[in-house]
């Protein structure tokens, strides 16, 4: 399939806000959810590591 590399015109472009420069701080609610999930992940990793006999410690 042929694709064309095209250059922008102001009237026909989607501009994503999913990418950004620098750092973004999450709001308090999202941070709390992030923390809860991260604690669970870390707990699972620690359990897995113990079950693995600490071979990768």
């Amino acid at each position: 399939m042929t694709t064309t590399l095209r250059h922008p015109r102001s009237d026909d472009h989607y501009v994503s806000d999913r990418v950004f420069d620098g750092v973004r701080t999450r709001d308090a609610d999202t941070s709390a959810r992030d923390r809860k999930r991260a604690v669970k992940q870390l707990d699972r990793l620690r359990v897995g590591r113990r079950a693995d006999g600490g071979k990768h410690a």
Binding site: L5, H13, D21, R24, A38
Partner: protein
């Protein structure tokens, strides 16, 4: 969304995660006459577990670097590609949009984007358009062509 833990610091009690997202977008890709698509993006999340410091995220390697051990860095893009495969298999989007963070990126800087495009091609997607958006960022639009 897929979250993969990649590093933990016992001193600061911070967990570093790669967050990959396939976002359902209701927006128009005018020249393609597409009004609904999925956009793939990923960030590095730094989560503090021990206090109320807010989570922060970055897509900028300069900001992410201090939080990623040397041994971990080469694994990030393979992890992102694996997450993309999982997300695509689960969501099965018809059209996927991706855009670079960098503006006017040199070809050399597109290696990770090439990897992600190839990952999608292996899953039956083809690039139907590529170009530069209003902010000078390279973008790709891919459509599912094969039943895989």
């Amino acid at each position: 969304m897929v979250l993969v833990p990649v590093a933990y610091c016992e001193v600061t009690d911070r967990l570093v995660q790669v967050e990959s997202r396939l976002s359902d977008m209701q927006a128009t890709l005018p020249r393609l006459d597409i009004t609904s698509f999925h956009e793939f993006s990923f960030t590095i999340l730094i989560v503090s577990l021990s206090d109320d410091a807010p989570t922060f995220e970055t897509q900028d390697r300069t900001y992410a670097r201090p939080y990623l051990p040397d041994a971990c860095r080469p694994l990030i893009m393979p992890i992102v590609a694996a997450c993309l495969r999982v997300l695509v298999a689960h969501v099965r989007p018809r059209v996927i949009y991706r855009v670079t963070k960098s503006r006017n990126p040199p070809e050399k800087a597109l290696r990770k984007d090439v990897l992600l495009t190839q990952t999608l091609e292996q899953k039956g997607y083809v690039v139907i358009e590529t170009g530069t958006d209003l902010w000078g960022r390279r973008f790709w639009v891919l459509r599912r062509e094969l039943t895989v």
